[in-house]
């Protein structure tokens, strides 16, 4: 028996080994290296002077840095909330809708997943074209239906830009949540649903008492995926409002902040590699804490439901 376990261990190690090497070389070491750079200061791509925690202290005490950092943090939270609302809540109802069997439900399923297959940059570009104040179709449509008074420069107004960007991202990844939820709903035993229906349950009862409890672990997974995706989001900002998070940093997220501060020259908003690495480390810490929090929350929920 002991022999067998030993053999088993060796076998398992063989499986883990290639992935372990790849993760170490391409993930773990760069992350550690980047954290190391956050303790250094200096010109160029490889900062040379060790400054201890000075970069972190400066990030949180000097207004020129912390105003950008907290600005991006706040935007990121708003961004996350909007995306979560659309993808989680609307996505859930969409999934409930398309898992009912009706004519065309299969087609709806495929259709809802279609945007997810596009590149983020393509999505950003399409939205930018649609919303262009001069030749964009969206304003023209609003005008045609007599809502011309509501038109604003969507991506040029700090009040609307972040919301628009969030909608673009949600639109793209909406299908992913629908896919997760619908597969969860599909796995519910049909006999339970049937029994409920015989007992006179309407759709709301079904959702609240059967569907929701059984897909709750999926809510957790989807929320965590959205959280990670949003707090590291860069592509859509790059495509739609540029790395400065225009207008006036109102769409600046952690991703664009890091990119700008680490890789741009000072005159274009760079803070030097050391400070850039500091921002990256703070991003990493934020995401780790966030994911930990969500995991704890959803595990507790699951336990409560289990009781």
């Amino acid at each position: 028996m002991i022999q067998a376990t030993k053999k088993h261990t060796r076998f398992l190690f063989m499986f883990i080994f290639p992935a372990f090497i790849i993760y170490t070389v391409f993930m773990l070491l760069p992350i550690i290296n980047s954290m190391k750079y956050s303790l250094y200061s200096g010109d160029g791509l490889v900062p040379g002077t060790f400054v201890g925690l000075d970069n972190f202290i400066r990030l949180f005490t000097e207004e020129r840095y912390y105003s950008r950092f907290w600005g991006a943090f706040g935007n990121n939270i708003k961004f996350f909330l909007i995306v979560t609302f659309i993808q989680n809540i609307l996505g859930f109802f969409m999934a409930v809708f398309i898992t009912r069997s009706f004519k065309g439900s299969g087609f709806m399923r495929k259709l809802s997943f279609l945007p997810t297959t596009l590149s983020v940059l393509v999505v950003g570009f399409i939205f930018k074209l649609i919303l262009n104040p001069y030749y964009g179709i969206f304003d023209k449509v609003l005008e045609a239906v007599g809502m011309g008074d509501f038109i604003i420069p969507w991506l040029g107004d700090p009040r609307s830009a972040l919301v628009i960007v969030s909608i673009a991202v949600s639109w793209q990844f909406f299908g992913e949540s629908v896919l997760f939820y619908s597969s969860g709903i599909d796995s519910i035993d049909e006999s339970i649903m049937e029994a409920a229906r015989i007992d006179g349950a309407n759709i709301w009862h079904e959702i609240i008492h059967i569907i929701l409890p059984s897909v709750l672990p999926i809510v957790g997974i989807v929320t965590i995926l959205i959280f990670i995706g949003d707090f590291t989001q860069f592509d859509i900002i790059f495509a739609m409002t540029g790395t400065r998070g225009d207008p006036n940093y109102s769409t600046d997220l952690f991703g664009s902040l890091f990119y700008r501060t680490a890789f741009s020259s000072a005159e274009r908003g760079g803070w030097g590699t050391g400070m850039g690495a500091t921002v990256a480390t703070m991003m990493f810490i934020t995401v780790t804490i966030g994911v930990g929090g969500f995991l704890a929350f959803f595990n507790k929920k699951k336990e409560e439901l289990g009781k």
Partner: protein
């Protein structure tokens, strides 16, 4: 287990095979061509065809050297350049931005010192050379291209209203009023991309109000502040133009504004000389005219923003040192300058020599130079070396001013506060 072994052997076989193939390929390459390919990078993706034509001329004279022009998108250029140089895969010949931005790259010790390689640099205008040289006077870039800022206009629209090219600000505003009253889109300008507001509008049109080069020097030498009356006055003048912007200008980005003007849908566009090529491609140049920034009052001397835009540096770690030097020599020659200015009208070479410009707009732009005081963008030198950079601050301040969140005086204070972090 058998299956794994099989898989492994297949994998090994595959690697061996590809390895052999590669070896064979390199063998044939050695025999066939001894041509050296030099990679030339720039932030001007729109120039690929034109630069290829210029470089073909070089290859004709030097058949063993081929130039591969590989530009990177403007906004990504600096980051990409830094990364590639640090990784040791940087281009051989490099477009370099002026002053601190280029100097930062030089300080990574990846650029070649040029004083001994190109002694002819001594003959270049010293102000231009200084934009790509260390404080000690060691050059690391050939001053290759300068640009001017001014106003493009549609000749047909101006004719329709019987307007002449305005020389002073009052005439300029009067022309704007006439055009607006006639229902024209006066300017194609939008404010979504704030760099335009600073680089072209404030540095170009504002210079006549804040006092041009003298004021810029004073600001840089800490004898003046951005909150001084002259700098605020220039901001106020910029604010005056807001009334003539198109609807929802806050959402109009750089590309859209070029398209609005280029397709004849606006009477004027405040732009840089580098846009000649873009307008040519968009709708032809027959109907496009140009005038320099209007003077504050008649009789003033024009403060002309003739900005040091691009230098050309060579990678210290190039694999083809001699070939790169040969090419650099050519880049610093008047032959290249003549080709360059005619292929890329709107870019003005600093290389000494007599040139004939074949582009009418470029000629017009150059015609203002002789009677003007040349200056560069307001806070480009020294005042953008740290965070937050002057370049960003002025752009942001004007963007907020146009959004109505700051008054011109507050905008000036915003810039001054930002600069006080390090200046």
């Amino acid at each position: 287990m058998k299956k794994i072994a099989l898989l492994m052997s297949v994998l090994v076989a595959l690697t061996l095979l590809t390895g052999c193939q590669k070896k064979e390929e390199s063998k044939t390459a050695e025999v066939k061509v001894e041509k050296v390919k030099l990679v030339f990078t720039s932030w001007r993706t729109e120039d690929i065809e034109r630069m290829n034509r210029i470089n073909d001329e070089f290859t004709k004279a030097n058949p063993n050297i081929e130039i591969d022009f590989q530009p990177v998108k403007d906004t990504e250029y600096d980051a990409q350049l830094r990364q590639s140089l640090a990784a040791g895969v940087g281009a051989d010949i490099i477009f370099l931005r002026s002053y601190d931005s280029g100097y930062q790259i030089y300080k990574t010790e990846s650029l070649m010192d040029l004083n001994s390689v190109l002694p002819e640099l001594k003959e270049f205008p010293s102000a231009a050379v200084a934009a790509w040289a260390t404080p000690e006077g060691e050059s690391y870039g050939i001053p290759a291209a300068g640009v001017v800022h001014g106003i493009y206009y549609r000749k047909s629209i101006f004719e329709k209203y019987g307007l002449d090219v305005p020389a002073t600000w009052d005439e300029f505003i009067a022309a704007c009023d006439t055009l607006k009253a006639g229902g024209e889109t006066v300017f194609a300008q939008g404010t979504k991309d704030n760099w335009m507001l600073y680089e072209v509008m404030y540095s170009g049109l504002g210079a006549n109000f804040y006092g041009g080069e003298e004021a810029r020097q004073a600001l840089m030498n800490k004898e003046a502040r951005f909150t001084d009356d002259n700098f605020v006055l220039a901001l106020e003048k910029m604010k005056e133009l807001q009334a003539y912007f198109p609807e929802r200008y806050e959402g109009i980005d750089y590309v859209t504004m070029q398209q609005i003007f280029g397709t004849g849908n606006a009477a004027m566009f405040m732009g840089g000389s580098w846009e000649i090529g873009i307008f040519e491609d968009l709708g032809g140049l027959e109907d496009v005219g140009y005038f320099a920034p209007p003077l504050a009052k008649a009789g003033d001397t024009l403060q002309y923003c003739f900005h040091v835009d691009a230098g050309i540096a060579m990678n210290k770690n190039t694999k083809h040192m001699e070939e790169v030097k040969t090419y650099m020599k050519w880049l610093a020659s008047s032959d290249y300058a003549q080709l360059y200015m005619n292929e890329l009208p709107g870019f003005f070479s600093y290389t000494p020599g007599n040139y004939t410009l074949n582009n009418q707009l470029a000629k017009e732009m150059q015609s203002y130079v002789s009677d003007s005081v040349p200056t560069v963008r307001t806070v480009w030198e020294k005042l953008s070396a740290d965070s937050p950079s002057g370049n960003e601050l002025v752009g942001e301040a004007i963007q907020m001013m146009y959004a109505g969140t700051l008054t011109p005086a507050e905008a000036a204070k915003f810039v001054d506060d930002g600069l006080s972090w390090y200046y």
